[in-house]
């Protein structure tokens, strides 16, 4: 509602400006026009407009911060998340200061130096000292920022040799499939040419894939345990984006990409924190991939080790799925045979 009122006020002011300018225009069209000369009165009013604009602009920014500030960067639910958030807030603090100060100076100069007949500008063409100052200061600040940023980047991207359990996230237009590496923590190999009914991921005969577990719709992670994602794509580029975990990596056909993190807040805890019993972490596609790109998602459940083991035990392994498929196939075969013989 607030924004509607605000929008109405803005519209009203803007409409007012337009009406005034049209009235003035018709007057001008009748009289002699002087479009190449800006009068003192016009310079003064435009100078003032800059101040009005700045106040309105800063108020608009502040209002947005008030209205939406609590929705940005939802609490990070991964071990590396807070490091990224700290880097973000540090950078944000820095650029906010620059943004506000430069705008104040810019607008003040526009306001103060609004043109007047008979006044003369100061001939001031350059100053090595000033230029040195605003070359060196940004350079120094940026050096710090680059060093800080790269430290965080290296920590996130090279997480060290923790024993992470491996999960494959397989993308295609327009859904996700997760494959757990099973007891051996090794994913079986695959080949896209073997994709077909009952073999969505194109797995090939490989002892490592027998204990792999394939799930759709939602996948589960263990709170506090590192997980290494391996991403593949069947058709076009997708991007696995898990905003709550500050994690994202593209899924590129023809190659395997990786991202590793440790979930730190279980779904249950997050629901309590947000006071929202329906909350779920979500994996979404963040690289344009076609008509239903906007709805390519999978829920993520973070839970305790016990809960996780229980859930995983309920899922079928690849060898069980295959066996079931063979049974169904032969049953179908038989059914078909019976059907034909009946005729």
């Amino acid at each position: 509602m607030t924004f509607l009122i605000l929008a109405a006020i803005v519209l009203f002011i803007l409409a007012g400006i337009r009406v005034m300018s049209i009235a003035a225009l018709s007057a001008e069209l009748r009289n002699n026009r002087k479009d190449d000369v800006i009068t003192d009165a016009e310079n003064r009013s435009q100078g003032n407009m800059w101040v009005i604009f700045m106040i309105a602009f800063f108020a608009f920014c502040a209002w947005q911060l008030y209205a939406y500030g609590d929705k940005i960067l939802p609490e990070a639910a991964s071990a590396h998340g807070p490091a990224i958030d700290n880097l973000f807030y540090t950078t944000l603090a820095l650029i906010t200061v620059v943004f506000i100060l430069t705008h104040i100076v810019l607008v003040y100069q526009a306001y103060k130096n609004a043109g007047k007949n008979g006044r003369r500008a100061t001939y001031f063409a350059h100053s090595n000292k000033l230029e040195l100052i605003w070359t060196v200061i940004p350079a120094v600040v940026l050096t710090g920022l680059i060093a800080y940023g790269l430290t965080v980047w290296n920590d996130v991207i090279y997480p060290g040799d923790k024993k992470a359990s491996v999960i494959e996230l397989y993308s295609k237009q327009f859904d996700w499939t997760a494959r757990y590496a099973g007891k051996d923590n090794k994913l079986g190999r695959s080949d896209f040419r073997t994709i077909g009914e009952g073999n969505d991921l194109g797995l090939i005969e490989d002892s490592k894939s027998d204990d792999d577990v394939i799930v759709k719709g939602e996948f589960h992670l263990v709170k506090g345990e590192p997980v290494q994602f391996k991403f593949r794509s069947r058709d076009v580029i997708h991007s696995a984006f898990m905003p709550h975990f500050r994690a994202q990596m593209n899924c590129v056909p023809g190659m395997e990409t990786m991202f590793e993190f440790i979930p730190t807040i279980s779904t249950k805890e997050m629901r309590e924190k947000l006071n929202n019993p329906k909350f779920n972490y979500v994996l979404m596609c963040n690289k344009i991939c076609g008509a239903a790109h906007y709805n390519m998602q999978m829920d993520i459940i973070v839970e305790s080790k016990e809960e996780h083991n229980k859930w995983l035990a309920e899922q079928k392994t690849w060898s069980q799925t295959k066996a079931a498929a063979t049974q169904t196939a032969s049953a179908n075969e038989q059914l078909k045979d019976t059907a034909t013989s009946d005729k």
């Binding site: 924004f3 929008a7 803005v10 190449d36 016009e42 310079n43 435009q46 800059w50 608009f60 939406y68 929705k71 960067l73 490091a83 990224i84 820095l94 943004f99 810019l106 526009a110 130096n113 609004a114 043109g115 007047k116 006044r119 003369r120 500008a121 001939y123 001031f124 063409a125 100053s127 230029e131 940004p138 350079a139 680059i146 790269l150 980047w153 290296n154 991207i157 237009q173 069947r234 058709d235 076009v236 580029i237 991007s239 709550h244 500050r246 994690a247 994202q248 023809g254 190659m255 990409t257 329906k278 779920n280 979500v282 690289k287 344009i288 076609g290 008509a291 239903a292 906007y294 998602q297």
Partner: protein, 620 residues
């Protein structure tokens, strides 16, 4: 005869040599080659259509860009309606879009098509072709003191390739299967495989053909600009006396010549993959129920090639706008641009760095993370020359006598956008932060402010400032004021709130956000943004009215309406072939002697000789 004038021999001879080829072919005279009684007898076709006069070509580029800009802007309003009120029926859409808006609700495929074509038109046709095409053509010969471009014929070809590519791009929107829809970056395999989306069929073929022609146009133009600036400067116009507009156009043209061929390579390989069964970008793909033969390629190769153009392209768009701003701010502050040489150095610095930062678009594509670190370093360095530019603009205003012409307002508006959009580059250029913000609305906010809004404001500043030079009349200033403030407020109203969407994790290029409960409480931001988009779009009617009305009915301009120093204001108001009726004036000083002490007037034209006192003080 002017050509015999000893002062001008050098540049005149160059013109004659360069022009001789088409002079013979067309039997075409040039005013400067002959005495004045040999007047031109242009037909309608040679004067308005297949013209070789740089001033007319500039107007052709401008009018085409205005048309393309209006179309791309209307497209954005249509998809903004869908984003604010997803699934709501807008009965007005059905008669316009037909099967793409059944029942007045936008189709998801056509939503992506609109996003794609909006981006393509704005980036290439308005802010590259339109901005450089208009102002490089208009200002290079006029501000360096040349009769015309080095090759009027290539210049004409440049426009007509641009026109042809514009027509093909617009035509592609009307075809049965829809235009290209894979985003303006057209990453394969999405863009390579018709099975992936309908827009990747004939629509994508037309996109590729259109862009190939566009690249030809851009190269013909850029080569011409470079040759003209280097060879055809009038006597006394040393490189360090050039207005900053010309420096910006020169460096922009160099960026174009070095980077557009790489885009052409990328496009060509994509055409091969699409039509001739090669596998540059394709491997291991199963789509539409079958495994494809393509093997061994990589989409990452395309991304490298694309962004090797794509990043310099950002500066191809922005540098001319910054050049125009330098000129407009100095003229209307009645002060020399502050730090002229630092401004040149920063243009060169930005241009150099722009070639070694492309990887910051690819931090999370699976590119080697170490390479990511290198690109973080080079990317953040760009902030240094950018900061120098921003501070120099502000210092130019200090103790000035600011004349708030509409052009001046837009130029200051550009500085504001440049700062607001620029600072968020420090966030996105940091690979660790990009993990969470890549391809979100934060990116949309960033580039629409720093490159979209800033560049378009530079273009508006240029149009208001040089309108008298183009049409001999002035645009109405009060309509200009209204246009500026509404557009300025509108643009911030549209793009600033997008930062919040992005930080909340909202991805770009989504048809609707209703499928994700976590975005439910952000819906009203989208309504706010759409209202501002509508306000901005409606405000452009003021501009269009002012523009077309003033062409015919505007106040007649004097020779030098803004009391400017540069050479273009020493030419007559009426356009003539060869620009100056007599000999080309000689240049004696730099372009920024505004409010020079000891002078009665607050400007000193570049053709005014230096006084002995000035020489003694070391002026040059």
């Amino acid at each position: 005869m002017s050509a015999m004038d000893p002062n001008n021999t050098h540049s005149e001879r160059e013109v004659q040599i360069l022009h001789s080829a088409h002079d013979h072919a067309h039997g075409h005279d040039h005013a400067h080659d002959h005495d004045e009684e040999h007047e031109h007898h242009d037909t309608f076709i040679t004067k308005y259509i297949f013209t070789q006069d740089h001033k007319m070509i500039a107007k052709q580029f401008l009018l085409t860009a205005v048309l393309m800009g209006v179309i791309a802007m209307l497209m954005s309003v249509v998809f903004r309606l869908q984003l604010a009120w997803p699934g709501k029926s807008f009965p007005i859409l059905e008669p316009i879009l037909g099967k793409w808006a059944p029942g007045g609700v936008l189709d998801p495929n056509f939503y992506l098509a609109l996003v794609t074509i909006h981006g393509t038109i704005m980036v290439f046709f308005v802010l590259t072709g339109g901005l450089s095409g208009t102002f490089s053509n208009l200002l290079i010969p006029l501000q360096i003191g040349a009769r015309d471009m080095a090759s009027g014929f290539l210049n004409m070809l440049s426009f007509w390739f641009f026109a042809a590519s514009s027509i093909i791009m617009l035509f592609s929107v009307t075809i049965e299967s829809g235009p290209a829809s894979g985003g303006w970056t057209i990453y394969p395999p999405l863009s390579a495989l018709e099975q992936a989306m309908p827009g990747s069929g004939l629509g994508m073929t037309l996109w590729l053909v259109s862009m190939s022609l566009f690249i030809v146009s851009s190269l013909l133009g850029s080569l011409n600009y470079i040759v003209t600036i280097i060879n055809l400067r009038t006597k006394g116009m040393s490189m360090t006396r050039l207005p900053l507009t010309i420096w910006a156009f020169l460096v922009t043209a160099m960026l174009g010549v070095l980077s557009f061929p790489v885009l052409f390579a990328a496009v060509l390989l994509l055409i091969f993959d699409r039509s001739f069964g090669t596998s540059f970008y394709l491997s291991d793909i199963y789509i539409g129920g079958q495994a494809l033969e393509h093997n061994g390629g990589s989409p990452i190769l395309y991304e490298h090639l694309f962004w090797f153009l794509g990043h310099p392209e950002v500066y191809i768009v922005l540098l001319p706008a910054l050049g125009i701003t330098s000129e407009v701010i100095a003229t209307n502050a009645r002060k020399p641009i502050f730090g002229y040489r630092a401004m040149i150095a920063s243009i060169l610095g930005i241009a150099f760095l722009s070639f070694i930062v492309w990887g910051h678009h690819m931090f999370i594509t699976g590119m080697n993370p170490f390479l990511g670190s290198v690109f973080v370093f080079t990317t953040l360095l760009i902030a240094i020359p950018s900061a120098v530019k921003a501070f120099n603009y502000i210092t130019t205003l200090w103790k000035g006598n600011l004349q708030f012409t509409p052009a001046m307002l837009f130029a200051i508006g550009l500085v504001s956008f440049f700062i607001t959009g620029g600072v968020t580059g420090l966030i996105l250029g940091d690979s660790a932060l990009d993990i969470n913000l890549h391809d979100t609305y934060f990116v949309v906010a960033h580039f629409h402010l720093v490159m979209g809004s800033a560049a378009i404001f530079g273009m508006f500043a240029g149009v208001y400032h040089w309108f008298p030079k183009m049409f001999g009349r002035l645009m109405n200033k009060r309509l200009g004021f209204a246009h500026f403030w509404l557009t300025f407020a509108g643009a911030y109203g549209v793009f600033f709130p997008m930062h919040f969407l992005g930080l909340a994790g909202v991805p770009r290029r989504y048809y609707t956000f209703t499928e994700f409960p976590i975005f439910n409480d952000l819906v009203d931001i989208n309504v706010l943004i759409t209202w501002f988009a509508i306000i901005s779009a409606v405000s452009q009617i003021i501009f269009l009215f002012n523009f077309f009305f003033s062409i015919f009915k505007g106040q007649r301009s004097s020779q030098n309406p803004w009391k400017s120093n540069t050479l273009e204001w020493t030419t007559p108001v009426e356009h003539i072939h060869g620009n100056w009726p007599g000999e080309i004036p000689e240049v004696h000083r730099w372009a920024y002697d505004y409010s020079k002490p000891d002078r009665e007037e607050d400007f000193v034209s570049q053709i005014t000789p230096l006084t002995e006192k000035e020489i003694a003080e070391g002026a040059h």
